[in-house]
Amino acid sequence: MELAKIVADLGWETLVGADLTRDVRDGYCSDLLSDVLAHAQAGDLWITHQRHLNVVAVGKLRDVAGIVFPRGLRPTPDVIARAAQERVNLFLSADPAFVVAGKLYRVLHP
């Protein structure tokens, strides 16, 4: 499914929309970046509470479709700037992670 449609349907705020035409494969939830490096797949939407600058590098390395910060956890400007530079999509949701994942799952696996 196209990323832009998911973002609109789930009401996320786009912090960095480098490429909203991407096809979303599935979702992945983890706050451990080593786990994401090992298991996230290209095209996944990655939901995480982790807001260190390294999320951008890890998202880029795994070629995720985007990173979603739940519960209104807004990353700092340096993270947003780096994501824009690296063309990694970033989103913010007011929902807690469980709800973000639940809603995303319903959309991706109707």
Binding site: D31, L32, L33, S34, V36, L37, Q50, H52, N54, A57
Partner: protein, 252 residues
């Protein structure tokens, strides 16, 4: 210069997860038993017991002030200081950044400051086994600003290891040295994390119980057991060297 044996990761009664038998006298006795030249007391987000261990040890072994700080990212960083006041000030500075959660001793264990005569000086109210609301870079900055050295703890381990939690080293010069867990073979750590190459690897016992003190250590080829010499050893200055012990057998 000669080789000095150091265990720079020892918990005490001030860590809720550590044994109440980890009093200053017991730590000093066990450190002497393990023939350690240099130790550091690294309680979670707290430095205070180091002062009593240091007084009692009277140089045998040499005691560095230390803390194991948990950052907002839930990365654990060992902080070492030569100066007692610098460490105690940092402890005081970090305390308000801990979540306001009381330590329930039944759930988490006791966190008590114990002096050199094994008297309880005070109990620390907030649960020390929590992250401070300061990001990693800021914690490192505050440690270094006070003249300390910050070394990421057991980098390959979940929970709390820098590489396990953040996947990569952050950009920049830091860290100059990294700690791996007592039970991880060096070769295994290097195979799993090629980024470890080129940085000195150290290990400590991460002792929570007396008999664990000195189960893993690091030897430093330095002129004297001081923080400045450790810093030079991490940078490989003037022929100084760092050599971690072999791993312990089972996961503690």
């Amino acid at each position: 210069m000669r080789w000095w044996r150091a265990d720079l990761h020892i918990h005490s009664t001030l860590s809720p997860c550590a044994s109440l038998t980890m009093s200053p006298p017991r730590i000093v006795a066990e450190a002497r038993r393990a023939q350690l030249d240099l130790i550091a007391i690294c309680d979670h987000n707290a430095a205070e017991n180091g002062r009593y261990v240091r007084r009692l040890a009277a140089g045998a072994p040499v005691v560095l002030m230390g803390m194991e700080i948990q950052t907002a990212e839930e990365v654990e960083v060992l902080a070492y200081f030569a100066d007692e006041e610098a460490a105690l000030h940092l402890q005081e500075e970090l305390y308000p950044y801990l979540p306001d959660i009381a330590c329930d001793p039944d759930l988490f264990g006791d966190q008590v400051v114990v002096d050199e005569r094994e008297e309880i000086v005070r109990r620390v109210e907030r649960l020390l086994l929590s992250p401070v609301a300061l990001p990693l870079a800021e914690v490192v900055r505050r440690v270094e600003e006070r003249g300390g050295i910050a070394v990421p703890a057991h980098v390959e381990r979940v929970p709390g290891g820098l590489l396990a939690v953040l996947g990569l080293f952050p950009e920049g010069e830091w860290p100059q040295a990294v700690e791996i867990a007592p039970w991880t073979p060096v070769e295994e750590a290097l195979a799993a994390w090629p980024a470890l190459r080129g940085r000195p690897i150290v290990r400590g016992s991460d002792a929570h119980f007396p008999e664990e003190i000195g189960r893993a250590w690091t030897e430093y080829f330095i002129a004297a057991p001081t923080l400045a010499e450790l810093q030079d050893a991490f940078r490989g200055r003037g022929g100084r060297k760092v050599r971690p012990s072999r791993e312990v057998k089972e996961e503690g």
